[in-house]
């Protein structure tokens, strides 16, 4: 039982929700898979917005629009129905190997949690997804620029704008969270890479395709590894090497 919870509110507008969220002992409730696992004893009130955001996914070559209340599984099912061979399906699934949790975890919750070792986040960073965010009005901001404030209601990206996307992850087991994840897209004449894993934050870099080389990967890795720390999974040197290898493999695949 989550003892500290005293109330669950279901506001009738997003504006009301934003107001309620100003209280320090209050938090937004979407799928709940992260919140209920953590049971933060400082939270007394949950603002359940599931009736205010949709839970669907609309996908076409012109654009993919994901409601914040859509579950990870819903998204995977839609992608699978369009392209069962999609190589990213497996990688994205591994952000959450448990299907039970995928049936509960929403995109809004996943983005709100913002785990740097979430393949979903790395994917959204790669495609530079547009977030529709509500503070006192709705605005649109790209995920790479989002400061974390407001309520995310929709996530969109546009497959037409990318000509390739790849994901590489290194972990001790498929079911284990990844140590290093690199996602990459090819847009026009450039590569955009994002790195995540057991790190403080997702970092991205861009380079012209003609400039890309093993040296650039190494340089990027050297910078990115500063947000990682050494642990039982590897020293900083080793993690730097992993990042560089992952970037190389993603680049080669693209």
């Amino acid at each position: 039982m989550w003892y500290s919870i005293k109330t669950v509110e279901k506001p009738s507008t997003l504006k009301e929700a934003v107001v309620s969220l100003k209280n320090i002992d209050t938090t937004l409730f979407s799928g709940g898979s992260y919140l209920v696992a953590d049971k933060n004893p400082n939270i007394q009130s949950l603002i359940d917005i599931n009736d205010l955001v949709g839970d669907g996914v609309i996908a076409s070559i012109d654009g993919v629009h994901i409601d914040a209340g859509a579950t990870l599984q819903t998204f995977l099912d839609i992608v699978y129905s369009i392209n069962p061979e999609c190589r990213l399906l497996k990688g994205i699934k591994l952000s959450c190997p448990s299907k039970q949790i995928r049936n509960q975890r929403t995109f809004g919750g996943e983005i709100g949690k913002g785990r740097p070792n979430s393949e979903v986040m790395l994917f959204l960073h790669a495609v530079n997804a547009d977030l529709t965010v509500f503070t006192d009005t709705e605005r649109s901001v790209s995920i790479r620029d989002w400061d974390g404030s407001g309520i995310v209601t929709k996530i969109s990206y546009f497959p037409k704008r990318i000509s390739g996307i790849e994901l590489e992850r290194f972990s001790l087991l498929e079911s284990a969270p990844a140590i290093v994840i690199v996602s990459g897209v090819k847009r026009k004449n450039q590569f955009e890479f994002s790195v995540g894993g057991t790190t403080n934050k997702i970092q991205s870099f861009t380079c012209l395709i003609e400039d890309w080389s093993a040296e650039i990967s190494k340089e990027f890795a050297g910078n990115a590894v500063k947000e990682f720390s050494a642990d039982h999974l590897g020293s900083l040197d080793y993690k730097e090497n992993l990042i560089a290898t992952a970037v190389n493999r993603v680049g080669d695949a693209l």
């Binding site: 989550w2 709940g32 359940d48």
Partner: protein
Amino acid sequence: MIQFQLNGKQVSANVRPGTTLLDFLRDKGYFSVKYGSDKGETGADTILVDGNMMNASLMLIHTVSGKNIETVESFAHGQDVHPLQDSFIEEGAIQCGYCTPGMVLAIESLAREKDNPNESDVKDVLAGVYCRCTGYVKPVKAAMNYLATGEPK
């Protein structure tokens, strides 16, 4: 007051908002749904919610309002045994049995969802049901035998 369907019966829950579905179900004597950890990953607490497999330990009671919850207690009545459960016994896929209800619900939800699931599909739905006894070898076999008969509940 939260109202929902539980194994075909209408049920009311008048409990604290921080109550999880796992707390509620075990209180009511549905012991097939079990505690494995606080974060849901073991799947010992698996139930079906409108046919979808989810973790009772991660669901606050208000979220099941209006939903149809199933546990394995609904699978067989009296002396019957559900063919999937029978397949598990037949294949020797049960050792300590703690994860068995979770596995059964997972496979059953797959059977309802997909025609001709393959072994990879089975392993996918079992990834959220931890088993330390069997190495998953016989459970996967039992599941494939059952799925080959094309007999969802």
